[in-house]
Assembly symmetry: C2
Homo-oligomer: 164 residues x 2
Amino acid sequence: MDKIVYKAIGIIRSPFKEARGTPIQASAEGTASGRIELYPEYLPGLKDLDGFSHLILLYHFHKAGKGSLIVKPFLEDEEHGVFAVRAPSRPNSIGLSIVCLQRIEGNILYIDDLDILDGTPLLDIKPYVPAFDHRDNVKSGWLENNLDKLSITEDDGRFLKEEE
Amino acid sequence: MDKIVYKAIGIIRSPFKEARGTPIQASAEGTASGRIELYPEYLPGLKDLDGFSHLILLYHFHKAGKGSLIVKPFLEDEEHGVFAVRAPSRPNSIGLSIVCLQRIEGNILYIDDLDILDGTPLLDIKPYVPAFDHRDNVKSGWLENNLDKLSITEDDGRFLKEEE
């Protein structure tokens, strides 16, 4: 009853062919340009998207292992609950990145600031809107003292499926 | 092959018993307090989440109809592509809200700023982190000239499943 079934609406193409070495956030250094290949049947859904500079991408971490509810994240050598980290191995492995939209040509969206693995199945595109998505006076818990490591930290493959 | 199966990790409880009258964004007026009833098996995943003031909730719009790829959103009487609006009826009906975490008691999370229907299945909780999730110099497309209506606009049921 509690099963929820989605389907890929397209594929994300990026220079990151494997998890190791991929930036851990879209706001980190080392992100790259890439593209979304939206399946052609969804093309009408792009109408007026080109007026937005930034998009929220929701996607399926297809290479993530099942993982544990307690994890050691990339940015700190301490254990935290999986809901207090942004690691790809989660009960439902849904990824979220805010990327920069460069241009749209047909069903291809050219994107900057990608931190997503090549071949990742795309679930949804939403316009990023500061009036909806910005919050002030935010406390960032254990991350407060670890954000300085964002620029020097990259994926080391720790959340991969076991067969890889 | 492209089917992706998730499962609810809990249920969102709110005073909004039906779509009509529900706020259309967590940043709008008229939001309410409520709670997340996380299924007890996921309890360990909450470790250290209480250090964060804001959470990103991903959830399944369980009352949303299939909808069209071209929609008239709440904030404007013009048609836009579904990926250029935040409406609940989408190819994959995944909702995203940034809410305020008040406190956690066992597997119950007490939440402010809810814009979510009572009984909504929860898919994921992520910590909201400005260093990851804020962007500057953003263009908000067709929404730029319609954000002043956010405070006076609420759900009118247009994206409900047909049987309701």
